[in-house]
Structure formats: C-alpha cells, structure tokens
C-alpha cells in the first residue's frame, strides 16, 4: 500500500509537471498518438466496413483478414516495424493502427448490417440512391454499433499506446519503461495509474457519445 501512496505522491509532485518530460506534456502526447492511430485506422476501416455492410460482398475475405491481423501480437509487430523503420513514432503508430483496425471494421459492417432491412428496402423503393441510403439511413441506424467499434478500438489503443515508449520517447509508457529499468517503482506505478485513468476517462466520454447517437428511435409508444 505504501508503494501506492508513493505513486500518488509522485504524480502530485509539482516537479513532475511542466516542461518537456512533464506529466501534462506526456498525457497530451499519449492522447495525440491514440487519436492519430484511431483516426488513421478509421479512415481505412470505416469506409471498407460500410462498403461490406452495404453490399454484403467481400465479407468473408475481409473478416478473415481482420481476424488474422487481430491475432498478430502488437509487441512483436512493433519490434519488427522498429527494426525496419528505426527509432521514432512511425513504427508504434503503424502497430497501433493495425491494433485498431479489426474493431473498427467489425463495428462498421455490423452496424450497417444491423440497420432495419425493411426500412432500407423501403427507402430504396421510394427512390433513394445508394449513396443516400448509406448516408441517410444505414449510417444513422447503425451509428450506435459503429461508435461501439470506435470505442473498443480507442480503449485498446490508449492502453497499448504505452508501447510507443518502447521505441520512441513518446507518451506515458516512458514512465513505465524507465521506472522499470531504474527500479523507481513509484514512477512506474504512477505511469500505470495515469494510463488507466486516461483510458477510463476516454471510455466514459465515448460511452456518452454513443448514448447521444441513440435518438428517439427506440422510444416506446407513449
């Protein structure tokens, strides 16, 4: 329990705030890496997932592929990429994109497929173009599930972004790696607590967003 107190004391110590290695600076870095990875993965995975969900084509191939990517251990991938690309943020970023991709893809096609088929068929029959169907019917109706995918991906990435410090001086993972090496366990635990707190805050934010995307559609008759 003493270690826990030490860790909290370490976090609240003013000397560890401000400046290039400060907690505030590293939190921002950590968040930036997380958002960049999720955003990059989303640019690739969401359109692909929406296309699969809308057309019902290519599902098996892409799902198998995403499953294979999911099975790749992030640390192993990071090491490989690090060897190829060298020290810096590129390798961790790519590894995190690969981590986020499957959840985003699954959320996107599952969300589109979950849209009420009767409503989609009727919307097509009254004269919506395929693009209008996707943007005005399928995405709004699937938003809940799509956001669920983004939420899951964000949670995975914010936790795993700790590994960015393995290969570059970025994010909160730095406290863990250097604390481990120098046996400063208060610093190490402080880093872990900060990552956990960040993950919690992000997840709660995403949960609120997800709730907000569920408008009145499922309200029971008054």
């Amino acid at each position: 329990m003493n270690l826990f107190g030490d860790a909290l004391a370490w976090i609240t110590d003013g000397a560890h705030w401000g400046g290039p290695g400060g907690i505030d600076h590293r939190v921002v870095q950590h968040l930036l890496v997380t958002f960049a990875a999720v955003a990059l993965a989303a640019v690739l995975a969401l359109p692909l997932g929406i296309l699969i969900g809308h057309t019902g084509r290519g599902r098996l191939v892409v799902v198998a592929l995403a499953g294979a990517v999911r099975a790749v251990p992030t640390l192993g991938l990071l090491t490989l990429l690090g060897l190829a690309l060298g020290i810096g943020i590129q390798a961790p970023l790519i590894a995190l994109v690969a981590l986020a991709f499957p959840s985003l893809l699954a959320g996107a096609y599952a969300g589109i497929e979950a849209a009420d088929r009767g409503a989609v068929d009727a919307a097509r029959a009254v004269g919506m173009s395929e693009w209008q169907l996707v943007t005005r019917v399928e995405i709004p109706l699937g938003a809940d599930v799509i956001l669920g995918g983004i939420r899951a991906a964000t949670l995975q990435v914010v936790a795993t972004a700790t590994l960015a410090a393995y290969i570059s001086d970025t994010g909160l993972g730095r406290y863990l790696f250097s604390g481990l090496k120098s046996r400063q366990y208060d610093q190490m635990l402080a880093g872990a607590l900060l990552v956990a707190a960040l993950a919690l805050v992000l997840d709660l934010t995403m949960a609120a967003l997800q709730r907000a995307s569920r408008p009145t559609t499922r309200k029971v008759p008054s």
Partner: protein, 270 residues
C-alpha cells in the same frame, strides 16, 4: 398512365423460378390486385414496375415506355410505394418520413413538411402526431403514414405490397375503406399485392389469381371470377364452396332475405 407486363419472367440466380410468361395490362386509374399464396411471385411482379426486381425475360412498360430505359432512382421517385409493415425510417419523425421523396427531389424542407402535414390529415392521422417517431404510433397508424408517404410525390402509380397485412381485421377494414375513398378522389393506377382474396375483391377492379411459380390461374373482375371460377384451384382459393359465398334468398313475410349456405341471414334484397 397504364402499366403493361409483356411476357415477363423471373428466374433467380439459384434457379428458383418466381414468374414465367406473365402478361397483363393495367389501364390508367384502375386497380390491379395480384393475389396468391406465398411463392406465387406476386411481390416479384409488382417490384418489376419500379425496377426493384429486373425481369429475366420480357419487359414492363409504363405508358408504352420500357422501364429499363428509365433511370432507376427517378423512376422510383415517380411511383408511390407502400411496403409491407410500413417500412418507415425509424430515426425520422413521422412528418419527415412523409416528406422523404419531395425533399429528395428538391422541394424546400419547410414546404415539404407543410404538404406532409396536410397529407397526414388526408389519410386520417392527426397532424399533431407528425412530431412523433414511427415506433410511437400503432401499426395501423404507421400504415396510414406509409400511404401518405407514397402519395407525397403526387405519383400517378401506386404499388402496394400487402399494405394492410400486418394489422388486425378491424383496422384493416378501416384502412381499406380509406384507400377506396382516396382512390375515388385521386384515381391512381394501383398495383396491389395481397394474399387475402376478400381484400383483392374489395379493392381490385381487376384481379389476377396466381399459383406457385407466377402462373396465372385466372384473370378477371371480381364478379367474373366469383361467377365462373376457372378451375378447382380458383374455386378453392376464393372459397367458392364456403358457406358465405353460396348465398340464396328466402321469402320472409313478403321480403327477400339473403341467407348463406348455412341458412344464416346476411341481409335483405332490395
């Protein structure tokens, strides 16, 4: 506007034959009822009119023009469509559901909403319900909204796919009355799909009875079909041997009382 089915057939890629060699003409302002059991291809036939299904043989013509020459989306917007069980967009308010097509075709939203409210009133829905979401209405109300949506773009043709199949008999009766009244005022060309022969007889000017595989068992006005069922299948389908179809009159104190096959009184002959 007339609709012509010219020797159309539909075979799905898996080899299922939905329709074979179907020909029929629906004159303008008339109602054609396609009736048959499930698997009779009636919905397939109806969906060929707005190209939701493309025939594998033959063609469908509207006013003499093959629908394949027309742009799919523009064609569908010009035809009213009432699907089974409403098919309303659950995330949009009732009034916006009705205004869907006018908004797509560029009517300003406010004008489209005003027109939608007037249409709701016309199909018997309190315009105050326009602010609600479809899930907050009863099944019968949702069907009325679907009819209003189909009428919103002022189409000449209406396609109705078992429009009243999902509601209870009393509500269905009310909806049918409403449709008959609307049709008397508007004079649309209607293709209606149903499995309910009584509905087909009530609403259809012309009735086509289909058997499995989209083969026509009989075509005619309701009167013609009741008077002379073509074969055993049709007799059976329309329930020609049911007590309520075999009416006769008996004389009661000088008045002709109509009774059914079981002798139960149905009404008085004027």
């Amino acid at each position: 506007m007339g609709i012509e089915f010219r020797d159309v057939g539909k075979t799905y890629p898996d080899g299922t034959v939905a329709v074979t060699g179907f020909s029929c003409t629906v004159p303008s302002h008339r109602t054609l009822a396609l009736v048959g059991t499930s698997g009779s291809g009636k919905t397939t036939l109806m969906r060929m009119v707005n190209r939701m299904v493309e025939p594998t043989t033959g063609s469908v013509l509207i006013d003499g023009r093959d629908v394949r020459e027309l742009d799919k989306v523009a064609l569908r917007r010009s035809i009213g469509y009432v699907p089974q069980a409403g098919g309303l967009l659950p995330h949009r308010r009732v009034v916006d559901n009705v205004a869907t097509v006018p908004v797509l075709t560029g009517t300003p939203r406010r004008a489209a909403r005003d027109a939608a409210l007037a249409l709701l009133e016309r199909v018997g829905i309190d315009p105050a319900l326009g602010r609600r979401y479809p899930a907050q209405l009863s099944g019968g109300q949702q069907q009325r909204v679907a009819v209003a949506r189909a009428l919103a773009a002022e189409p000449n043709i209406l396609l109705m796919d078992e429009p009243f199949g999902a509601v209870d008999p009393i509500v269905r009766r009310g909806l049918q009355d409403q449709l008959l009244q609307l049709q008397a005022e508007l004079g649309k060309t209607i293709v209606l799909v149903t499995h309910d022969i009584d509905e087909a007889f009530r609403l259809g000017d012309e009735v086509v009875i289909l058997r499995t595989g989209g083969i026509v068992a009989q075509t005619g006005t309701p009167k013609e079909i009741v008077a002379a069922p073509a074969d055993e299948f049709v007799r059976d389908f329309i329930g020609a041997d049911r007590a309520e179809r075999a009416l006769r009159t008996v004389d009661v104190d000088g008045r002709s009382v109509v009774v059914d096959g079981d002798g139960r009184p149905v009404g008085v002959l004027e």
